[in-house]
Point group: C2
C-alpha cells in the first residue's frame, strides 16, 4: 500500500539523507548494528547515519523499543514502526530527542539482522538456468521440471556473513575431465552469484502449508545476496545430491532488510510467461500475486581489483540486470517451499538464485560472463578475469526507481577475496 511515508516531498532533518542514493526517509530499512565498541541494537539507516529504534521511545512515539525478532514476526508492528520512524526522522520537533541515538554509519559495525535458522537457495533466474544449462547440456539446456517446479535446495546458514566480511578462497576437491584422479587445493574457478535474499516474517507450523494468497504476508523484506561459488568443486561434487562444499564456505548479504512497504511503489506489470509456457499448478497460481507484478529493481555487479586500486580506477560494472528476470514470484517460492508442510521460521532466508538478464552483459556470474572461462572479461585496468582472483572485491547493488517516487537502494553487498589459508 502506498501511503504518506512514500510522499516524494517528505524530507528528513538528518544531514545527507535527502537525495541519498540508498537511504532517504522513504526507505527506512531494518538492521542490527553496533556503534563503536558498543553492544548490537536494532536500527534504521537514514542517509549516511543510523538511528537506533530506542529513539522512538526517547521521542515519546513508542512506550518501548521493539526487538528485531518481534518486528520480523509481526507485520502490523513492522508497519507501525515504519510509520513512527517516518514521523521521527521527518518532523524537526523530534530532532533534539532523537539525535543522541543517531550515529554516523561509518563509525558503526553492521551485523546479520537476525539469527538465520535455515537458508534455502532457489534457481528462479531462468536466463541463468538456460545459460548454465547450455554449458553442461548444449542440446537441452533447461531441464523438463524447470517451468513447473520452483527448483531450490538447502544452503548453509552458519556461513552467511554481512557485507564487508572477508572471503577466504576455499580449498577443495577438483577433478579436471582429463585428469586421472582428483586433487585437493585452492579453488581455481571462484565465482560470484547475483541474487536477492527474501527474509521470512511470520512462519508456519510443521505440516501447515502456506496458501499462495497469504504468501506475501510471510515476507518481512529483501536483501542482496552473493552466493560465492567454487565452480571447479561444484562440477566434481554435485551429482547426485546437488551443490555442497562449492557453496557453503561463505554467503554474503547486504545487512539492511528492505521492507515490502518500502518497495510498494516499485512494481512492474508481471512479465507474461512466453507463449506456450505451462501455467503453474493451482497451488502456485494466484491472480492477485500476478497482478501485483514483479519487483521493479535494478541490479548491478561491480568489481574492483588490486590492479584497479593501484591505478585509482573506480569499481567497474561487470553486469547490470533486473529483478523481473525471475521466473517465479517471491510468493511462489515461499508457497512451494511450504507446500509439503515444511515449516518456515521467522528469520529464515531464501535466496532467489542468480538473476541474470537475457543479454550477455546482464549475466549474474562470471561463469556466464566468461562463457565457462573461455572468454575472459577485460577490465579498465587491462587485466582480464575468467574467475575471481585474490584481492578482487565484488560489490552487488540494487535500487528502485519509479516516476513520482524517490529512489531507494539496498546498500552494498561487498566482499573481497583473501588468499587460501
Amino acid at each position: 500500500m502506498i501511503d504518506a511515508t512514500h510522499d516524494p516531498k517528505l524530507t528528513s532533518w538528518v544531514a545527507n539523507a535527502n537525495d541519498h542514493a540508498d537511504f532517504p526517509v522513504q526507505n527506512l530499512p531494518l538492521g542490527l548494528f553496533s556503534p563503536a565498541n558498543e553492544a548490537p541494537r536494532p536500527g534504521t539507516a537514514i542517509g549516511d547515519h543510523i538511528i537506533e529504534w530506542q529513539a522512538l521511545v526517547a521521542a515519546g512515539l513508542r512506550l518501548d523499543s521493539p526487538t528485531m525478532e518481534a518486528v520480523l514476526a509481526t507485520p502490523a508492528l513492522r508497519k507501525s514502526v515504519r510509520q513512527q520512524l517516518s514521523n521521527l526522522l521527518s518532523d524537526p520537533q523530534y530532532r533534539e530527542a532523537a539525535e543522541p541515538y543517531l550515529h554516523a554509519a561509518a563509525d558503526c559495525t553492521l551485523h546479520l539482522p537476525t539469527r538465520i535458522g535455515d537458508y534455502t537457495d532457489f534457481y528462479a533466474g531462468i536466463h541463468h538456468a538456460v545459460t548454465v544449462g547450455k554449458l553442461f547440456r548444449p542440446d537441452n539446456p533447461l531441464l523438463p521440471n524447470y517451468k513447473h517446479v520452483p527448483i531450490g535446495y538447502h544452503g548453509r546458514a552458519s556461513s552467511i556473513r554481512p557485507s564487508g566480511a572477508p572471503v577466504i578462497r576455499p580449498k577443495g576437491q577438483t577433478k579436471a575431465p582429463d585428469a586421472e584422479a582428483p586433487s585437493f587445493g585452492p579453488s581455481k574457478r571462484l565465482d560470484f552469484e547475483l541474487e536477492l535474499g527474501i527474509w521470512i516474517g511470520p512462519g508456519n507450523d510443521l505440516g501447515q502449508p502456506i496458501d499462495i494468497a497469504q504468501a506475501a504476508d510471510h515476507i518481512a523484506g529483501y536483501c542482496l545476496l552473493n552466493d560465492w561459488s567454487a565452480r571447479d568443486f561444484q562440477a566434481w561434487e554435485y551429482q547426485p545430491l546437488g551443490p555442497f562444499l562449492a557453496k557453503n564456505f561463505m554467503t554474503t548479504i547486504s545487512p539492511w532488510i528492505i521492507t515490502p512497504e518500502a518497495l510498494a511503489p516499485f512494481r512492474l506489470a508481471q512479465a507474461p510467461r512466453p507463449e506456450g509456457d505451462p501455467k503453474p499448478l493451482p497451488y502456485l497460481w494466484d491472480a492477485a500475486d500476478q497482478a501485483a507484478g514483479a519487483l521493479k529493481l535494478s541490479l548491478e555487479v561491480l568489481i574492483e581489483t588490486a590492479g584497479m586500486r593501484a591505478q585509482n580506477l573506480p569499481p567497474f560494472a561487470l553486469s547490470r540486470s533486473e529483478a523481473r528476470h525471475m521466473y517465479w514470484t517471491p510468493s511462489q517460492l515461499l508457497t512451494h517451499h511450504a507446500s509439503n508442510g515444511c515449516n518456515l521460521q521467522t528469520g529464515d532466508l531464501l535466496g532467489t538464485g542468480t538473476i541474470s538478464g537475457p543479454a550477455p552483459d546482464s549475466a549474474g556470474s562470471l561463469l556466464e560472463l566468461s562463457e565457462g572461462g573461455k572468454k575472459p572479461v577485460t577490465l579498465p585496468s587491462n587485466e582480464t578475469r575468467s574467475f575471481l582472483e585474490d584481492g578482487d572485491a565484488l560489490i552487488l547493488r540494487a535500487y528502485a526507481e519509479a516516476d513520482g517516487f524517490v529512489r531507494i537502494g539496498f546498500g552494498d553487498c561487498r566482499g573481497r577475496i583473501l588468499p587460501a589459508g
Copy 2:
C-alpha cells in the same frame, strides 16, 4: 578410552537398569526432557527412568548442574559428567539424595536435545548408493566421484523432530514418466531411510578447516535418524540441485545422544576397502582414524501397520544392517565438511546417509527392499508394502554388543504416518 565406567560388573541402584536392553549404567546418554507438565531440563536415561543432572548437585558431586550446550561444546566436561553420573547411579550412598530427581521415563516428554543450527545429510552407505544407483542407471550405478568425495548435501533443520512425533504424509508435485504434465497431491511413494546422526561438539571458526587427526574431538555423540523421503517428489524435483521437498517435510531422530565414551568398547577393525578402490586424498586419511575402526553397531528397522495392531502382532523386522557398511568414517565426513572452511557449530547434526547392508534383507529403505516398488514386501499380517501407508509406524533401533561388555542401545526412533491434511 575404556575405563571403570564400562566395567560389566558395575550395577545401578535404579530398578530395571541392570540388564536393560538400551540404558544400563554403562550407557549414560545425554538428553533434554520434561517431567509431566514441567519445564525441559537435561538428564540421562537409566533403565526405564531418567535422572536429572541436577541430582549431581544434590548428591554433592558437582557444584552446579551443567547446561546441555556446555556439555556438548566441552569434551572434558562431557567426560567428567559421565564419570560423575556413573558414580551417582552405581553407588547406593547417593540414592537418597538423587531419588527426588529420578522420573519414570513413561511419564516424561523427550525433546530435541539441543537447538540444531544446521543439518547436513551425507551418502556414506555404499550399498545404498549402488542399489539406488542401479534403479536409475543400471549400467553405471556408482557415480565416478563416490569413492573420492564423501557426498553430502544440506538438509532442513527446522523440521527435525524427536521420536514419537507424528509424520504427516506430505503433498507435492509429481510427474509419472508417461504423464503429460505434473500434478499435485499426497505422496504415493513415502519411504523411510535408516541413518545414524552425528552430533557436533566443539565447532570450528569460518575459514578454519578441521584436521582429520582432530576430527573425533569434534563429535559429541550419535543418534538414530529417519530421513523420511517422498520418492515420487524426489524423482521429479531433484535435478539439477538435489533433493528438497522430497525430504524436508520431516526428519525423525532418537532423542538420546549416545556419547563416544559409551561407544568406546564397540569398535571393529575397519573393513578394508575392496582391492583396487582408490586411497582417499591425504586430507581425508589418518592412520589413527582407520585403526580406531568402524562403529560396531547393529541396526534394525521394524514396521507396525494398523492391520498388525488389529491382530495384536508385534512389530516386524523389515531389515537388519550394521554401521560398518559406511564407506566413510564419521571423522572423514566431518573433516570433508569443514575442508573448505565451512564452520560447524555445537549442536549441528550430520546424517550418515542410508546404511544398507549388501544383502537384500539388509537394505535401509523400502525403495531398495521393494526394488523400486516392483516387489512388495509381505508382512506377517499378510499385508504387503511397496511404500508406507497411513497408519504405519516405523521404528529404527541400534545396539552395541561386544565380548566382555554390557550391551547398550540407542532407544527407539519412531514415527507413525498420518494421512495428508
